[in-house]
Amino acid sequence: MGSRSYFPSYYSVDDIFVTQEKISCQVSSRLLKMGFLDPGCETDHLEPGKIVKLPLWYVKELKINNPYLIIQIPELYKNVHNAICEAESTNIDLGKMNMQYYEYGRYLASFDRNHSLGRILYETCRQRVRHLLTISKNTVDEIKSENKMDSIERGLYEAGIRTNTLYTNWLQQKNSKIRPSELVQEHSKKRKRFTLSDDEMSSSLQSTKRSM
């Protein structure tokens, strides 16, 4: 996460990671010639009642009341976990449950027949962000590996710690030099890369000419 906030888009790598997750779906009507979807299936067709695992990028385009597949919400978002989330959400280890807990849940929320998932995500996020603001304010040292966050929270936490470190450094006058902003640095790096690749191109061209 850079200076921009995270928004899922077609090109965002995080979003691709999230939509790679497999979700078990129950087949509700006979699907002809679809046996290859289930490696353990011996027939060419998928019979009703079978459970297949399909990636989220396919499942998320389905309607909740489609006639072919019933989407099963993963255990992760089932009642037991939700009860914990409601009770004390700052203590749970989201990272261990799923690194993309929020985003994954966001896609699945529309398939939740109890209509509670969206609400729980929202409440959990709200409570945990408040906690996050406090802890990121009080730590200056490097990020510890065992803190229990998912990827989005980690991004926020790192941003918070960075701000805090910059501020304490400024108070103690540790770095009095103004460095070029990140944008400018990135740009100059890119330019260097371009000129490098141009050189390589020309040299390779020359060598091919020589060989000809």
Binding site: S5, Y102, R130
Partner: protein, 201 residues
């Protein structure tokens, strides 16, 4: 924005100095500075004042608000008020930091002033933190933060807007699913009411 950049912005504010040399006006892009006459106070940008002070070519006249009594008053006001009070300068932390860094001996009761300014900053920071916490907790839709200075905003800058972005995204999901449920609920109630009317007939 880094604290260094905020410092750069803060350095543009004017400050009084008493030079100990004679010099013609200096013409800069941002305007002319001077002329300097030895012993006569003159207002110049802070960055130039710090520079001259480092070369021992002037004495810095502390800004009017940089006084123990005034600052005590501001501190009391800040403690009493629920909201952020107006600060005497938009970059009070930066100015204090720079002046104390190079010309601590020009300011009477410098240590006391330093402590009070830090106190004021801490009070405002904790106030900001509690109000942010209350804002997220209370499901408010907007918050008004007047009289906040740049450095104070920096303390919450990338993390708070980003966090609020995420929260609002999940809120939208929650309200969308909630709407589904309420529409379902409406349908059932409609059904039951129609059923009732039928039964009455």
């Amino acid at each position: 924005m880094d604290p260094c950049e905020i410092e750069f912005i803060g350095e543009k504010s004017q400050i009084g100095i008493v030079p100990n040399f004679n010099f013609d006006p200096i013409h800069l892009i941002s305007g002319s500075v001077g002329p300097f006459r030895a012993g006569l106070p003159v207002h110049i940008p802070l960055w130039l004042a710090v520079h001259l002070r480092r070369q021992r070519k002037c004495r810095i006249v502390p800004p009017q608000w940089m006084d123990v009594d005034t600052l005590e008053e501001i501190k009391e006001e800040e403690k009493r008020s629920k909201f952020f009070t107006k600060m005497p300068s938009d970059n009070y932390m930066v100015e204090a930091q720079l002046i104390f860094g190079c010309a601590a001996e020009d300011i009477p009761r410098c240590d006391e002033i330093r402590t009070i300014i830090k106190d004021i900053f801490d009070i405002r920071e904790s106030k900001l933190r509690t109000s942010v916490d209350a804002f997220i907790k209370g499901e408010g839709t907007y918050a008004k933060l007047d009289n906040l200075t740049l450095l104070e905003m920096h303390a919450i800058r990338p993390i708070l807007p980003h966090a609020l972005d995420h929260i609002s995204r999940y809120q939208r999901v929650a309200s969308a699913t909630q709407r589904d449920m309420s529409s379902l609920g409406l349908n059932t109630s409609n059904l039951s009411s129609s059923y009732h009317s039928q039964s009455r007939i």
